[in-house]
Amino acid sequence: MKREDDFVVLMPAYNEADRIATTIAGIREYCSAEIVVISDGSTDSTAEKARETGAIVIELPFNLGYGAALQTGYQYALKQGYDFAIQMDADGQHDPAFIPVLMKEVQTGRADVAIGSRFLGEGVYHLSLTRNAGVLFFRNLASLLTRQTVTDPTSGFQALSRKAMEFCASEAYPTDFPDADVLIMLHKRGIRFTEVPVRMHQNTKKKTMHSGLVPIYYLFKMMLSILVTLLRTHEHRRQS
């Protein structure tokens, strides 16, 4: 059931049973919006824990990956008729105090996507050397290709308008690590995005999505995705 707020909080979660309730409680301190947890084939009690807090739980039958879980959230939000959505991580890394700040950007129509950047002055966030190199590389590439400054292309703390959600719910959205390539796709489709300084908590316990050989695959996938996005001129023209 749709609540008073015209936005919804979307939270993909994979085996976050011990943190999900705290994260949801944190969000409720700052907004009364409906919270939707997309349990991405979790094998622990993530779904039950989230349901106990009163959140809506969408349970994917098996692990589809972060991007696909997020996309499920957008599809739900659109079906329920929401005009705006906030996406954030379930591990409490994103500070919910910044939800109203991000939301204001899209609700006032200043942008279709407001990205919470951890590198714009709110708090200090340290990355490992390799991740830092990756962020730096894609930051520059995304800035160059979208002709606007991008500082945090991998941020998962964002506010979206309906127009942006419609793109993210479509088949064109890359569900396999959606990051810098999404920004370029948004830019090509004329969907405006802006960055807002937010605070992110350093999470030492977090089992990162980028470990082992994954960064190499990530680099390859991102470069290929960006390349084909640039080559798909017809698709963008048709849609615009």
Binding site: M1, V57, L60, P61, F62, L64, K79, Q80, G81
Partner: protein, 119 residues
Amino acid sequence: MTWQLKTVAVFIGATLFIYIIEMVRKRKLREEYAWLWLFTGMMIVVLSAWYDLLLYLSVLLGGILPSALLFFFGMIFLLLICLHLSVKISTLTDQVKRLSQDIAIMRSRRNIGADYRED
């Protein structure tokens, strides 16, 4: 090419061809996946039975060994089949993802008793 080798090659090609037709007949293999396999089987038969064509092609490609050319073609066909399968897997992955998302959303909406507003 010796007649023994020719016989074996024709036999393998023909068996492959018949086996694929049989699989399609039994509905174990869909027609859309069968065509490339059938084409491969047919090419093996044609190239091994019609030695002059193989010879002509090997001269055309710079006078390489006819038998090496057979291997070369075989590899090209296998590559094409692998590519074809990768494309199909990509489509299936997208379809499975889409289905799981729809099922998950439908289940959650049923659980909360939401109004099934039609899109």
